[in-house]
Structures are given as structure tokens and as C-alpha cells.
């Protein structure tokens, strides 16, 4: 399995990253070397093996559906790049 520069561009779009054209050849080369590494996995027979998402096979811990946190909007928004009247500001998305 190997991918082209066009595929890298598509993945970058999905990941909201921008890849410069002059970086593309080296990135594609590294990417394909990593995919070659991944191909080793195909050697392992895994029919009937349950995927392991948690190393302790722990189940999601749930809590009662009650409010446990106080309103921390001001302190959390203090780290935001741009806010106004308690809202996060972004470029206009509708005309």
C-alpha cells in the first residue's frame, strides 16, 4: 500500500492541516514508509480476536446525571484568543 501526494492533500484537508507543496515529496515518502511498517500487521492472524480498546478491558465509568461543576465560563474563556460578551469570536460564517 502506498499513497500519492493527492491523497496526502485529501487527508490534510480532513485533518484541517495545510501541507505546503514543497513539503509534499518528503512527507509522502515518510508517510509511505510508515504505511509499509503498518503492513506487518497483516501477518498476524486475528480472526475472532476481539479488538482491545482499553488495556484493562474496563467499561466506561458513568456518574449520576447531576450537575457537579459550577459555572466557570469566565475563567475558561480567559485563555481564549478572542471572546466578546461571553461568546467565542470566529470569522463570519454566514452572510
Amino acid at each position: 500500500m502506498s499513497v500519492s501526494g493527492d491523497t496526502i492533500r485529501e487527508i490534510a484537508q480532513l485533518a484541517r492541516l495545510r501541507v505546503e507543496e514543497d513539503e509534499l515529496p518528503a512527507l509522502t515518502g515518510n508517510f509511505n514508509a510508515i504505511l509499509d511498517l503498518f503492513e506487518q500487521l497483516q501477518a498476524a492472524p486475528t480472526d475472532g480476536v476481539e479488538p482491545m480498546a482499553n488495556p484493562l478491558d474496563a467499561r466506561q465509568t458513568l456518574r449520576d446525571d447531576v450537575v457537579t461543576e459550577s459555572n466557570q465560563r469566565d475563567s475558561l474563556q480567559s485563555t481564549a484568543p478572542l471572546t466578546e460578551n461571553g461568546l467565542y469570536l470566529v470569522p463570519r460564517v454566514v452572510d
Partner: protein, 487 residues
């Protein structure tokens, strides 16, 4: 350089031979004098540290001190510290001062330890060399032309260089153990879920685990006691009764301890000198009454592709939160929302982080999910099963932490897959969620070699005891780097 252990520093404070303010001022002076050549710290908080030191001295005077009260320690810059820059080694978070403490940080504050600063690390903990930091590479105190290991390399270098006695680290694929090995210190990666991950900036959530780094197993036991506790605000935190790890150091006899030695850890790729050091260390355990048994961990080689599918996949989702909207870096004058996202992320993330996000996005994308991510998670279960089988006949597993000693800065930066092979002996432990530690076992070409001990889930006490007994009979952990680089 101050090489006193945590117990020695605590005793000096308790007996009034020194004060926390004096210890803190001395540590700040060492950082000021020595860190220019190491770059082990990203942020030093002199004002905050001295304030905490004064509070600790008052606490000691009141007779209200614990074993860590008044001792300066450093935190890896992945742990959120209230009001103090927490960058995770990334430009993305260069200006980020969290409004809260990570649970680990809060627990050390409660214990009265003095937070002296935040240590250098590979950006978002992605790396095996500490060369991926936005703040520049960190150097190995044993030879400043070499890497300290990653991603907790700043913590390891600060301890090995005698700047602090202890620090925190995190280990997603070996990031406590590998730098501990390269820098000649002791580091423990606890069982997944033993130490809270709240406020520990996420890389790969099913693998990340915080743990202690110090000169000795005894100090790591003391630190782990402060770190390990159930955290109701972390859904991956496990509920276990508290353990006295320091008290346990003497409780596990080496007489009759069954040590498994995986044949796959001694094959192609292992440096001959490193192999000889590990052999000698294993013979020392035999001399203490342990028995060695050759075992097999047949899927060891597959841990590399499994890890490098799973970790980037989880990273690609975890790092999607950095969009320039709520916190972190935002590009100048975005023309639209898409431009805001892409340019902020491109400017904020370094090359390795972007590469892993791309790989993870690809692995999770429609059409490839089963071939890569699901397959890797299935192989993960097989790897965990190999360990479970091995532990039916042995108590702990021992081998090298790394295939070689610390490599030269820049030696592997252009070839990510070569860098990934450095983690061959550490990755499978994270995939299986097991506890493991690295302790100094000797030298090769004047550079430290780490012995790795791997335990069963929640068997940290036995690991620490084994390492402690070894350190009672050896002085590798007391060796100090010279001031001049080795040739």
C-alpha cells in the same frame, strides 16, 4: 549538583538542618547556572516556588509536614498547572496558562512539594529524543551532543544533571523509561489507570500514563505514593486501596522470585555492550536468589506497527480540539473559518505532530479503519495475551529498556521509522497497560544503560522492591555525569 535522595532531603528538613526556602533557592541557582547547556526546563517559576517554599517551612514548623513537604520538584510540561504556562512543548500552547491544576499537580501541592518549574518535552509527547520541542532540543547531561531520550527527556536530564531530585513524566510508548535509561536515572510507568490523567494533556488516551522519575527506586516509591489515587473526575482512573510503596520495598524477597527473560528482547538490533550489561544485571538478581527463565513474547515486533497505528489514531482525535477558537494558538487575520482552523493548526503544530495527525486520520478514515485501526487493536489483544501467558510462570519480566545507548542529536530526525524502532522493548507494555520501570544497570561507552522490569497489572510494589534490592547491591544509580562531555 545536589545528589541527595528525597528521603535525605526530607530528613534534613525535618531535623532543621536546612529549610525549604534554602533548598529552593539552591535549586533555582543550579538551574540558572547549569540549564543553559541542557535546556531541560521550559518554564522556571522562581516566584511561585519561593512562595510555596515559605508555606512549606511554615508547615514544617507547625509539625504538619509529610515526606515530600518542602522539596523542590519539577513537572513535565504536559501537566496543567494553574496560572503557569503549560505548553506541552508546542507553539500551539505557548501562551496557555490553565485555569486549573492536573490532579497529579494538585496532589503534590497537597503533599507540600515545591513546584519549581516545567520540564522540556517532545511536542505533545510525540518523540523518542526530545528533539521535537518548540523550545529546542534538550541535551543529555552525560554527553551534551546526545539526546536525553523522549518524550520526558527534560525531566530525566534535570534529574541526571542534579538540578532537581525528582520530576514527573508521562509514558505513552516508553516516554518515562527510555529517557530514564538514556540519562541513568530510575523511572516508573505505572499500570494504566493507577495515576489520574485529569489535566494531563492527552496524546493517546488508551496508552498515556503519568509516573515518577528520580534517582532511585526508593524515591520513585515515595513519589508514586503521592501520585496514585482514584480520581472520580477521570473515568479511566481505577479504584484501588492505597498502598504503602515505600514500606513495601523490603517486603518482597528476591529469594525465589521468578524472572522471565524474553528471548525476543535479545535478538537482532540489540547492541552487544547493552546486552552484556543486562546479562550482568540478571546475574546479580540470580545472586540475590531469583531464578531466571527464558520466555517468549512472540508478538514483540508487531508492537511497533500496532502502536504507531493506535497512538496516532487517538492523537488525531485528541488534537482536533486545537482549532484556534477556545484556547491555544490562533493565526493572524483569518479570512474565514476554514482558514482559521488550517492556518492555526499548521502554524501551531510541529512536523512530527502533523505527521502523526495525518497518519492517524488516514488510519481512521473510511475504507482503511478495519485494515489498520481495528487490526491493530486485535493485535494489541494478542500482545496482551502473550504477557498474560508469560506471567503464568514468572513473577516479573526483565530485559533491556532500549536497544542502544543515547544516540547523537540529529542522528535520526530525518527518518521517523528508524526513530520508531527505538521503542521496540517499551511499546508492548503500554499496549497491555502493564507497569514497568527502567533502572540504571551499567554503562556502555561511558553512557548509561537501562534495565527494564515489567510487572503484572498493579504489581508496582513488587517491581519497586526488586529495583530497590538491586540498588542496595549496586551503585549504578549513584554514578554522576562529568562536567565535560565524553568523547
Amino acid at each position: 549538583m545536589d545528589t541527595r535522595s528525597l528521603a535525605e532531603l526530607g530528613a534534613a528538613l525535618a531535623q532543621g538542618e536546612t529549610s525549604s526556602v534554602a533548598l529552593t533557592e539552591a535549586a533555582l541557582a543550579r538551574i540558572d547556572a547549569l540549564d543553559g547547556g541542557l535546556n531541560s526546563f521550559i518554564t522556571v517559576d522562581a516566584e511561585g516556588a519561593l512562595r510555596e517554599a515559605r508555606e512549606a517551612d511554615a508547615r514544617i514548623a507547625r509539625g504538619d509536614a509529610g515526606p515530600l513537604t518542602g522539596i523542590p520538584i519539577a513537572h513535565k510540561d504536559i501537566f496543567c498547572t494553574r496560572g503557569l504556562r503549560t505548553s506541552c512543548g508546542s507553539r500551539m500552547l505557548d501562551g496557555f496558562a490553565p485555569p486549573y491544576d492536573a490532579t497529579v499537580v494538585a496532589r503534590f501541592r497537597e503533599a507540600g512539594a515545591v513546584l519549581i518549574g516545567k520540564t522540556n518535552m517532545d511536542e505533545f509527547a510525540m518523540g523518542s529524543s526530545n528533539e521535537n520541542s518548540f523550545y529546542g532540543a534538550c541535551a543529555n547531561p552525560w554527553d551534551r551532543s546526545r539526546v536525553p531520550g523522549g518524550s520526558s527527556g527534560g525531566s530525566a536530564a534535570a534529574i541526571a544533571g542534579g538540578l532537581v531530585a525528582a520530576a514527573t513524566g508521562t509514558d505513552t510508548g516508553g516516554s518515562i523509561r527510555q529517557p530514564a535509561a538514556f540519562c541513568g536515572i530510575t523511572g516508573l510507568k505505572p499500570t494504566y489507570g493507577l495515576v489520574s490523567r485529569l489535566g494531563m494533556i492527552a496524546y493517546a488516551s488508551s496508552l498515556d500514563q503519568g509516573g515518577p522519575m528520580a534517582r532511585s527506586a526508593e524515591d520513585c516509591a515515595l513519589l508514586l505514593g503521592a501520585m496514585a489515587a482514584h480520581d472520580p473526575r477521570d473515568s479511566t482512573s481505577v479504584q484501588r486501596p492505597p498502598q504503602d510503596y515505600v514500606g513495601g520495598l523490603q517486603q518482597h524477597s528476591m529469594e525465589g522470585l521468578r524472572i522471565g527473560v524474553p528471548r525476543e528482547y535479545f535478538g537482532e538490533g540489540l547492541n552487544n555492550d547493552v546486552a552484556a550489561v543486562i546479562d550482568a544485571a540478571l546475574k546479580e538478581f540470580e545472586a540475590m536468589g531469583a531464578t531466571l527463565k527464558e520466555i517468549s513474547l512472540p508478538r514483540t515486533a508487531l508492537s511497533i506497527p500496532a502502536y504507531y497505528v493506535i497512538a496516532p489514531a487517538e492523537a488525531s482525535t485528541n488534537l482536533s480540539r486545537y482549532d484556534g477558537v477556545r484556547y491555544g494558538h490562533r493565526c493572524q487575520d483569518p479570512v474565514d473559518l476554514e482558514d482559521l482552523y488550517t492556518r492555526s493548526r499548521e502554524e501551531g503544530f510541529g512536523d512530527e505532530v502533523q505527521r502523526r495527525i495525518l497518519v492517524g486520520t488516514y488510519a481512521l478514515s473510511s475504507g482503511y479503519y478495519d485494515a489498520y485501526y481495528k487490526k491493530a487493536q486485535q493485535v494489541r489483544r494478542l500482545i496482551a495475551g502473550d504477557f498474560a501467558t508469560a506471567f503464568e510462570s514468572v513473577d516479573i519480566i526483565a530485559g533491556p529498556t532500549t536497544p542502544g545507548v543515547a544516540f547523537k542529536l540529529g542522528a535520526k530526525t530525518s527518518d521517523p521509522t528508524a526513530m520508531y524502532l527505538e521503542d521496540i522493548y517499551t511499546l508492548s507494555v503500554n499496549l497491555a497497560g502493564l507497569p514497568a520501570m527502567s533502572l540504571p544497570a551499567g554503562f556502555s561507552d561511558h553512557l548509561p544503560v537501562g534495565l527494564q522490569l515489567i510487572g503484572q497489572h498493579f504489581d508496582e510494589a513488587r517491581l519497586l522492591a526488586a529495583a530497590h534490592q538491586f540498588q542496595l547491591r549496586s551503585d549504578w544509580h549513584r554514578q554522576l555525569p562529568g562536567q565535560e562531555p565524553h568523547p
